[in-house]
């Protein structure tokens, strides 16, 4: 899991939010284990797609990388340096190198600021830029994202959702970052606008050699943008690998269920449908053993006792499941297990 050209490396990262109870004497009675031991490497110039349902910890991971939260344990390095130990000029440089685009372009742009002020925001404290240079940069960026230069003096409410998201992207590009966290960048937009934005992101990546961390629940969209996929469930990566491998041959039963539940692109598309029971458990009471075992269609007796570790089932394709490998005394690999199994055939799905 450590390719040599990793730009961002997370090693065994944990983030637990303690829960306090009591009126006067407050006791720590538990913890929300939002991120519970995540190791991933994000390669330079590539897009890492982090997929999972709400509450799986993917947004907390972004916050840890963006330094809004501090990890409870583990390290996050950027270009080999520990992100949470940066100080002074190194910290300032990091804040410019690492940028973010949020999901909701209504909440991410200050309604009382003009577009030029918004885009200027990350450059404001940068001594490298004079006032004129900043102005030139804003005009350049507006052109890059496809808005008229005249937009600079307007306010966010004068733009549509898609245009606002373009503005948010321009703001992220302003300090010439090398890494951008994209937190559900298109999911609040209309269908016909999404493709525009996804293509724009793709073009920008190529043009400016950007590395992306794409956080999303939309599997088809992630397939389009990401080179590497990490599937997260309840604070842990359960499967990761190159996107053709993960999508073409999902190993973990959860990934398999997610893919089979994703909406088909044609009514007659052949597929097996795995309907999971129940919903994601609370991250306060994480099930013992494999955290997916209460919902797993292929659960085995020892799944509730031993937590499977992430292991390389195939070159570059990692999975944390007892169906593969025998690290914990689990049965021998059953590579084709996902194809057989208890899933319901629902070929013509109506």
């Amino acid at each position: 899991m450590t390719p040599s050209n990793a730009l961002v490396q997370l090693t065994d990262v944990q983030k637990h939010f303690p829960i306090h109870q009591g009126f006067i004497i407050r006791k720590e009675t538990g913890a929300v284990k939002a991120v519970d031991g995540v190791t991933i490497a994000i390669e330079r110039g590539k897009t890492f797609g982090l997929v999972g349902e709400s509450g799986c910890g993917k947004t907390t991971m972004a916050k840890l990388i963006l330094r809004i939260e501090t990890p409870t344990a583990g390290t996050i390095t950027f270009d080999g340096k520990d992100v949470h130990k940066l100080k002074g000029s190194e910290l300032r440089a990091y804040r410019e190198t690492v940028q973010v685009v949020f999901q909701d372009p209504y909440s991410s742009l200050n309604p009382r600021m003009r577009i030029k002020e918004i885009i200027e925001e990350p450059l404001r404290t940068d001594p490298k830029f004079t006032k004129e240079q900043r102005k030139a940069r804003i005009e350049e960026l507006l052109k890059v994202i496809g808005l008229r230069p005249g937009s600079a003096t307007r306010y966010p409410h004068q733009f549509s959702g898609g245009q606002r998201q373009r503005i948010a992207i321009a703001r992220a590009l302003a300090p010439s970052p090398s890494f951008i966290v994209l937190d559900e960048p298109v999911s609040s937009l209309d269908v016909s606008i999404r493709a525009q934005l996804m293509n724009l992101l793709k073009d920008l990546q190529r043009e400016f050699h950007l590395t992306f961390l794409l956080i999303s629940h939309d599997l088809a969209g992630v397939r389009y943008l990401a080179d590497t996929i990490g599937v997260m469930y309840l604070g842990k990566i359960v499967e990761s690998g190159g996107s053709p491998a993960v999508y073409g041959k999902p190993l973990h039963p959860y990934t398999h269920a997610l893919l089979s539940n994703a909406m088909p692109s044609h009514p007659n598309a052949p597929r097996t449908e795995v309907i999971l029971t129940g919903e994601v458990p609370s991250p306060i009471n994480i099930p013992t053993g494999c955290r997916f075992h209460p919902r797993c269609p292929k659960v085995m007796p020892h799944c509730s006792k031993i937590e499977p570790q992430l292991q390389e089932a195939e070159p570059g394709h990692w999975v944390a499941c007892h169906l593969y490998g025998d690290t914990n005394g689990a049965p021998t690999p059953k590579e084709t297990a996902h194809a057989t199994a208890t899933s319901t055939a629902a070929g013509n799905a109506r």
Binding site: R67, N110, P111, G146
Partner: protein, 302 residues
């Protein structure tokens, strides 16, 4: 790449608040903001230019002209449009100057109390935690303050003065500002533009002033409007009780007090300053209500 630049579908541009002129406002938004706005503009004009437009001196006594009835009554003279009080001072002039006092007291109080309250509210709402709890408990204590009693005590211990009125009024209004601003801050803080500012390492004072405060302004405008009404009422009450603006300054409250003993022979002495108080406070309340409705739906999206 496409130039995606049509106006946003169905989205309505937010009209910004500008001094667009009373008449244009009335034509555009109807009569409710129009009339109160007219009253207030008049009040400010009268207060500001009282020395220029007043027919007489506010404190000039003339016992010969005492208790002259308003001009339209049988005993009235055109010299004193709204009559005179028992010292022969011109009522109209004193109401003009009274407006001036009301305005000065209001503005100074809003400036002091509003600023303190806003600062406390921003701090409590943004930082949260124990600081928030502490500040809000202090606010609760001040909200439970018997303001009138305090003013009377202060006025008995010291001399009644402008300072005491402003002090008491500020003490009474700052917690209301603090509470409201805190609530708004709590609503604005989770927005991603605030998160973004934190990510880029923006210093906290700048986040408060540049990202949160401007989004609180609409609420503040509404609150200020309401509170100016409340302050005018408080100042009048204090003056009426003799704990407010010291005579011979022509506060509306003092004027009502002056006429209290002679409601039968000089009804106009209390009536006109009373009407002035009522019209002003009513206008401010109506305007505040209108502003709240007008600004609110837009605020939701911020």
């Amino acid at each position: 790449m496409a130039i995606a630049e049509q106006p946003a579908a169905g989205r309505v541009a937010r009209p910004r608040f500008s001094a667009g002129g009373v008449f244009r406002t009335v034509r555009h938004y109807g009569i409710i903001p129009g009339i109160p706005l007219f009253v207030l503009v008049t009040l400010i004009f009268v207060g500001a230019f009282a020395p220029l437009i007043s027919p007489h001196e506010p404190n000039k006594q003339s016992l010969l002209d005492s208790n002259v009835a308003p001009a339209w009554t049988a005993e009235g003279t055109s010299n004193n449009l709204l009559g005179t009080d028992r010292f022969g001072r011109d009522q109209l002039t004193r109401i003009f100057y009274g407006a001036r006092i009301s305005l000065i007291v209001s503005f100074v109080t809003i400036a002091i109390g509003g600023a303190i309250g806003t600062l406390v509210g921003l701090t409590a709402g943004y930082f949260g935690g124990w600081l928030d709890s502490l500040l809000m408990r202090i606010v609760d204590v001040f909200l439970a303050f018997p303001g009138l009693l305090l003013a009377i005590v202060l006025a008995t211990v010291f001399e009644p003065s402008f300072t005491i009125v402003i002090l008491v009024a500020s003490l009474l209004i700052w917690p209301r500002f603090a509470r409201l601003v805190r609530g708004d801050t709590l609503g604005i803080k989770p927005n991603d533009f605030v998160t973004y500012a934190r990510i880029t390492g923006t210093p906290t004072p700048r986040i408060l002033m540049k990202h949160i405060f401007p989004n609180v302004i609409p609420t503040l405008l509404v609150l200020c409007t309401w509170e100016v009404g409340a302050i005018i009422l408080l100042e009048s009450s204090l003056s009426f009780l003799g704990a407010g603006i010291p005579p011979p300054n022509p506060s509306w409250g003092t004027m009502v007090l002056d006429g209290r003993g002679q409601l039968e022979e000089g009804w106009w002495i209390s009536l006109f300053p009373g009407l002035a108080i009522m019209t002003t406070v009513l206008s401010l309340n109506l305007l505040g209500d209108w502003m709240r409705d007008y600004l609110d739906p837009k605020l939701r999206h911020a």
